[in-house]
Each structure stands twice: as structure tokens, then as C-alpha cells.
């Protein structure tokens, strides 16, 4: 089983599915299931697309793809969540099956890529698929702004890649890591790294390039909300993590600028969530703050905890966005005040939503607490006290607004709110909430992945 099948089979089925429009969603679910199953049987390592390798000098002549434990975790999260979202939306969004297949192919390629220009092409594929998913909101102005910001970000990313090619003569990530370490002079590389950081930062919702998030996620529905807020964010932050820990070198003034940008992003995100009265806006501003925390963890080298935070975030945000978007669709109203008492008749869904929220806040008994405890300890060990204080302050603000949201949603007000959730919905929410609970109390399996994640540096050292 070759790893390229993860990308090629969704592409092939997508090309064929425009002829059989009625069965798009069926094909999507079938392919997503196939992808999740063959993830068990894949061998890890590097493959050469086209088989072009120079025998004499071991030069990598063509494009390569690389699979290691980090990529396997990312692929699990992405394919699994797409399967779940597709299963829940099988009746309501019939015409979006082909687009979701292409998004799956693009996101898989994003995580597996080992060649910088190939990464750019897959960023574009998944970006255009994301713009099309957001057209389901029926707000063309927000989609247009997302398209504009995304294209500017990709152009800056391409600029950075080309400068790196001119300096080192190769586009392969593994060879470029070796050459950058041989050069050992980060001052010359500030411009390309900064450009690539800004380019990816637009998609990963970092400040100040996240003007598009309010329009797109503020009017989302049960397809585009979970897709953009959890699946795309998980994939983009996984790629960001791989580039930051291996390729970029953050030292000196560049590190200072980036750290300031990220900490300001965390505070602003949480403050704006605090001051908002619409449910979807609260969730999206907290997403912005969380993604800034994740990138900050990667910049400081805490790879394991960043990965756990990505997974925990993706799972909790899926549940929260699904529940909220479904209820907003049924009641046609976005304000927190009009959704009061939502859970008083829906006990099961309410409990799972509460579990996801409490895990996001980082209370004990849930996985969010273990993650937060560990990374704050590591920050203290690195003497990064300012960052610690900022994160603690942000968690305090976050705790306040999330608890306020929960109280409003549980206790009924004057009007009665009646929303029904169908069975598949409840099953999904229960499964995700249980996993958040279980891993919160028994976190041993996650510790085993600790020493397996850094395999790409082994390849770099040993060739």
C-alpha cells in the first residue's frame, strides 16, 4: 500500500463523481472510510514520485512524500473528522460531495508533502476548496474577502519559497534543512521565513491577518463551520508546526517580533470573545486565540503538547460548532439571549457540549487540563514568565465568558426554545465527549508518542 493512494484515490473519485451527481455524498463517505482504513497498513518512510533518484549522487531529482508518526496523527485527525462531518450532513448538503473529496485530497497532500513547491500547490487546492465550502453560507461578500486574503497569503508564501530556492538550489525540505544548518546564519534568512510565516498565518487565523474569520465563521452552517474551524485549522497548524520546528530558525529579533505578535493575538482574541453577544462569534474568537497559543508552543519547541492541543481543540470545536450551528439554523437567530435554555430539554447534547467547553477551558478531569498544566510547566522551565502570565490571564478571561455562555444556555429565560437533534448527531457528540473524558483521566498512551515524533530529524542526519 503506497502512501500516494491517500491523495490519488480521492482525486480520481472526484473527477469521476461529476458524472454521477446524485451519489456524490455516498462516494465521499466510501473514500473517507477507505482512507481511514488504509492508514493502519501504511509503511512509514519516504517515497519518490516518478521514481526519479540519481543513483550516483543520491540526489533527489523529483518530488518526494514523507510519512512519519507526526503525519500519521495528522492524517487520522483530518480523515476521521471529514468522515464524521460528511456522515452528519449527508442529507442537507447534497451538492458538496465533490468539493469535500477535493478538500480531503488537498489536506492529505498538505500533511504528506516534502517538497516546498508541492506544499504550495496543495495549499492552493485546499484553499480553493475552502472558498467553495464557504459559499454554502450564501454570503458572497465574506467569501470574496476570504479569497482575497488567501490569495495574498499564498503569493507571499511563494515569494519566500523562491528566495530559498535561489539561495540553496533545491526545493526538497529534507535537503534544505541540511543546507540551512550548514549555513548557520539566521540573519540572511529573516526575509523568506517572515514571508512564509505571514503566508501561512493568513490561513491559520493569526493576528493581524484574520479579518476574514469574522465574516466566514460568523455566518457559518453545520457544514462550513466544523470544516473551516476544526479540520482546516488542524491541518494548517500541523503543517505550520512541521515547518517551524524543522525549517525555520527563530532567533534574536525575529523571535521577539513573532512572540509579540502571537501574545497580542491571544489577548485580543479572548477579549473580543468576552465582549461579544453572538454565539458563533464567541466560538470563532476563541478559535483565533487557541491557534495563536498553538503556534506559540511550536515556536518554543514544545512539539508534543502542541500536537495534543491541536487534537483536543479540533475535537472540542467540532462538537461545539456542530451543536451551535444546528440550533442557529433551526431558530434563525444568533444572539445568546434568544438561545437561552437550549439544553434544558436536550440533556444529552447539553452534557456533551459542556464537556467540550470545560475541556477547552482546561479544568481538571478533562484532557485540556493536562495539556495546559504541562505546557505552562515547560514555559516556567524555560524562564518565559511573560508568556506564562499572558496565557494565564487569557485563560481567566476565557473561563469567564465560556461559563457565562454555559449558564445562559442551560437555564431557560422567558421564551421556550425547541430544537431537536437527530440520533447520528447525538452519537457523534457522545463519542467525542467520552474520548475527551477518558484521555483526561488516563493519559499514558499519549506519552508513548513522545520519542517517536522527531523522526524527520533522523532522516536528515542519517540521509
Amino acid at each position: 500500500m503506497n502512501i500516494i493512494l491517500l491523495i490519488v484515490i480521492p482525486l480520481l473519485v472526484a473527477f469521476l463523481s461529476i458524472l454521477v451527481k446524485k451519489y456524490q455524498m455516498m462516494l465521499l463517505i466510501f473514500v473517507a472510510l477507505f482512507n481511514v482504513i488504509i492508514l493502519f497498513f501504511l509503511k512509514q518512510g519516504m517515497i519518490f514520485v516518478g521514481g526519479y533518484e540519481d543513483e550516483l549522487t543520491h540526489n533527489l531529482l523529483g518530488i518526494t512524500l514523507f510519512l512519519d508518526v507526526y503525519a500519521v496523527i495528522a492524517l487520522w485527525v483530518i480523515n476521521g473528522l471529514i468522515l464524521v462531518i460528511a456522515l452528519l450532513n449527508i442529507k442537507s448538503y447534497q451538492t458538496y460531495g465533490t468539493i469535500l473529496l477535493l478538500a480531503m485530497a488537498g489536506l492529505n497532500g498538505l500533511v504528506l508533502a516534502n517538497d516546498l513547491f508541492n506544499l504550495f500547490v496543495f495549499i492552493e487546492i485546499s484553499g480553493i476548496a475552502a472558498y467553495l465550502i464557504t459559499t454554502s453560507n450564501k454570503k458572497p461578500v465574506s467569501t470574496f474577502k476570504y479569497l482575497l486574503y488567501g490569495s495574498i497569503g499564498s503569493s507571499l508564501f511563494l515569494f519566500g519559497i523562491v528566495i530559498l530556492y535561489a539561495m540553496f538550489g533545491t526545493l526538497n525540505i529534507v535537503i534544505m534543512i541540511r543546507e540551512i544548518e550548514a549555513l548557520n546564519d539566521y540573519r540572511q534568512l529573516i526575509l523568506p521565513f517572515l514571508m512564509m510565516f505571514i503566508g501561512l498565518g493568513v490561513e491559520a487565523k493569526l493576528l493581524p491577518f484574520n479579518h476574514w474569520v469574522k465574516g466566514v465563521l460568523g455566518t457559518s452552517n453545520s457544514l462550513s463551520g466544523p470544516m473551516i474551524a476544526s479540520v482546516y485549522m488542524a491541518a494548517t497548524t500541523f503543517v505550520f508546526g512541521r515547518l517551524i520546528t524543522n525549517l525555520f530558525q527563530f532567533e534574536g529579533s525575529l523571535l521577539l517580533v513573532v512572540t509579540i505578535l502571537l501574545t497580542v493575538g491571544i489577548l485580543v482574541g479572548d477579549l473580543m470573545a468576552f465582549s461579544s453577544t453572538k454565539v458563533r462569534e464567541i466560538l470563532l474568537f476563541s478559535s483565533i486565540a487557541q491557534s495563536s497559543i498553538i503556534v506559540l508552543l511550536f515556536v518554543n519547541g514544545l512539539v508534543i503538547w502542541a500536537v495534543y492541543l491541536i487534537i483536543a481543540n479540533a475535537l472540542s470545536k467540532t462538537v461545539m460548532f456542530l451543536v451551535i450551528n444546528h440550533s442557529v439554523q433551526k431558530t434563525n437567530d444568533d444572539e445568546v439571549e434568544s438561545l437561552k435554555g437550549l439544553f434544558s430539554h436536550n440533556l444529552l447534547v447539553g452534557t456533551t457540549f459542556t464537556i467540550a467547553t470545560l475541556s477547552l477551558m482546561g479544568l481538571p478531569l478533562f484532557i485540556g487540563f493536562i495539556i495546559k498544566l504541562n505546557y505552562l510547566t515547560m514555559f516556567a522551565q524555560q524562564n518565559q514568565f511573560i508568556v506564562m502570565i499572558v496565557i494565564l490571564l487569557a485563560s481567566l478571561i476565557e473561563g469567564i465568558y465560556l461559563v457565562r455562555l454555559l449558564i445562559k444556555l442551560w437555564y431557560p429565560g422567558d421564551q421556550k426554545v425547541e430544537v431537536k437533534y437527530h440520533l447520528a448527531f447525538k452519537v457523534v457528540c457522545v463519542v467525542i465527549a467520552l474520548s475527551l473524558l477518558v484521555f483526561g483521566t488516563y493519559s499514558n498512551p499519549l506519552n508513548k508518542l513522545d520519542h517517536n515524533i522527531d523522526e524527520i530529524s533522523e532522516v536528515v542526519i542519517h540521509g
Binding site: N2, I4, V8, L11, L12, A14, F15, L16, I18, L19, I47, F48, V49, G50, G51, Y52, D54, T57, N59, L60, L61, G62, I63, T95, T98, I99, L102, A105, G106, G109, F117, N118, V121, F122, E124, I125, I128, A129, Y131, L132, T135, P140, I163, A166, M167, F168, G169, T170, L171, L183, Q188, I190, L191
Partner: protein, 236 residues
């Protein structure tokens, strides 16, 4: 006021890039490149050039060594045309009413021009591995001939179903050819046909075949986008 501020920001941005590039000692000056230091140096060695077998080295990069990027590019165009069809979707369509009405001489002369354009585009697609050109410009020229037909005749609407079938079939065939390379040989997109002598028309293995498929796909996609733009809702 905003314009002045914008001018300052853009000027500062350009100046910052130029100064940063001048100060980087690793960034080579214009024209001062030694190809042996880059990967492209090995593309010109005879043993490696014959792995792909095409006389146009840019084609051997685009469809040989970096064929996966070309597959991604074809997918981007596919997603865009799918998106245009999704956004501009109406129930009953008819040709858009324009203020300009073409006359008889324009209609007749356009048919002659369309045949010339089609011949040149097919020549360009077939000789992609011997001279500059290939599937992408050839496909764009096919689409431009369709645009000429649309502009010269205000009642013309091509059959959309035919384009969709052509686009889907061409795309799937490209992916399937790559899969055949995986099954027969060792890697995806491996060049499994005989590569022949560099410089002949029938050389370079699977490359001319893939270029023909890409040309047809790009042509039909852009033609369907043109059709989507030039139609509007039928107000009955």
C-alpha cells in the same frame, strides 16, 4: 489621506524587500548563477535526460520530474471551474443580452478563424516535448476559439454536457495513467513507455499522451467557464 498612507506602506514594503535581498550574501546576483549547484544541473546530463526523453527540458521538468505539481495544477483548474458552476447556477438559462449585435460578415469570417486557431492549438499541444508550448497554452487556445464563436454569434450556446464528460474523462485518464505506472513499475507517474530518441515526434514515453489529455481538459474547462459567464437567468 488613505491614498498617501497606502503609498508610504507600499513604498516601504518594496524598499524593505530590495534592501533585504541586497544584503543577503547567499542570494545570487542577476545572471550570476552556476547551474551545477542547483538540481537543474543534473537534468542536462545525458543519462538523466534520457530517463524522460524529451527535447524540451522544461517539459521534462513539468511532466517528468515534477509531474505531481502538474497534477495539482490540473486539479486547481478543475476546482475553479466546479466553483464557477456552483456559484452561477440558475434553473433556466439563456444567452445574455448584449447591446452589440454582430452582423453576417462577422459570423462567417469567424468560422474561418476558428479553424485556423484550432489547427495551431493542436500543433502546439502535440509538439509540447519538442518546442515551447504544450497542453496548457494549447488548451487556452481551444478555449479562445470557443470564445470567438460566442462573441461572433449571439445565439450560440455550446452543449454543456459534452464538455463535462470530456473534462471528467480526461482528468480520470491522467490519474489512471499515473496509477498504471505504480502498478507496472515502482512509482507513481513513472515513464513506462519506450522513450525513444530525443528530438523525434514519437519520443518521451507517456508525455505526449498526457499533454493531449491536459490540453483537452483545460480547453473544455475554460470553455465551460466562458459559457457560465455569458448566460443569465431566463426571466419568463
Amino acid at each position: 489621506m488613505k491614498k498617501f498612507f497606502g503609498l508610504i506602506v507600499a513604498f516601504a514594503f518594496g524598499l524593505m524587500i530590495i534592501l533585504a535581498l541586497r544584503n543577503m550574501s547567499g542570494f545570487p546576483a542577476y545572471g550570476d548563477v552556476n547551474l551545477a549547484e542547483r538540481i537543474s544541473g543534473s537534468y542536462f546530463q545525458s543519462a538523466i535526460a534520457e530517463l524522460v526523453g524529451s527535447a524540451n527540458i522544461v517539459t521534462s521538468v513539468v511532466l517528468g520530474f515534477r509531474a505531481f505539481d502538474t497534477l495539482g495544477e490540473v486539479t486547481v483548474l478543475f476546482v475553479s471551474s466546479l466553483g464557477v458552476a456552483l456559484i452561477l447556477d440558475f434553473k433556466h438559462k439563456k444567452r445574455m443580452e448584449l447591446a452589440f449585435k454582430p452582423n453576417f460578415m462577422l459570423k462567417t469570417a469567424s468560422y474561418i478563424l476558428v479553424s485556423i486557431i484550432l489547427v495551431v492549438s493542436f500543433y502546439m499541444i502535440l509538439h509540447g516535448h519538442l518546442s515551447p508550448g504544450g497542453g496548457f497554452p494549447g488548451g487556452a487556445m481551444i478555449a479562445s476559439s470557443v470564445l470567438l464563436l460566442y462573441l461572433a454569434d449571439d445565439q450560440f450556446r455550446s452543449k454543456i454536457q459534452g464538455f463535462k464528460i470530456l473534462e471528467s474523462a480526461a482528468g480520470s485518464l491522467i490519474v489512471v495513467i499515473g496509477l498504471v505506472g505504480l502498478v507496472i513499475g515502482t512509482a507513481y507517474f513513472e515513464n513506462f513507455l519506450n522513450t525513444g530518441v530525443i528530438g523525434n515526434l514519437l519520443s518521451a514515453g507517456i508525455i505526449p499522451i498526457i499533454y493531449v489529455l491536459i490540453g483537452l481538459k483545460v480547453g473544455s474547462e475554460i470553455a465551460s467557464v466562458i459559457d457560465q459567464f455569458l448566460t443569465e437567468e431566463e426571466k419568463s
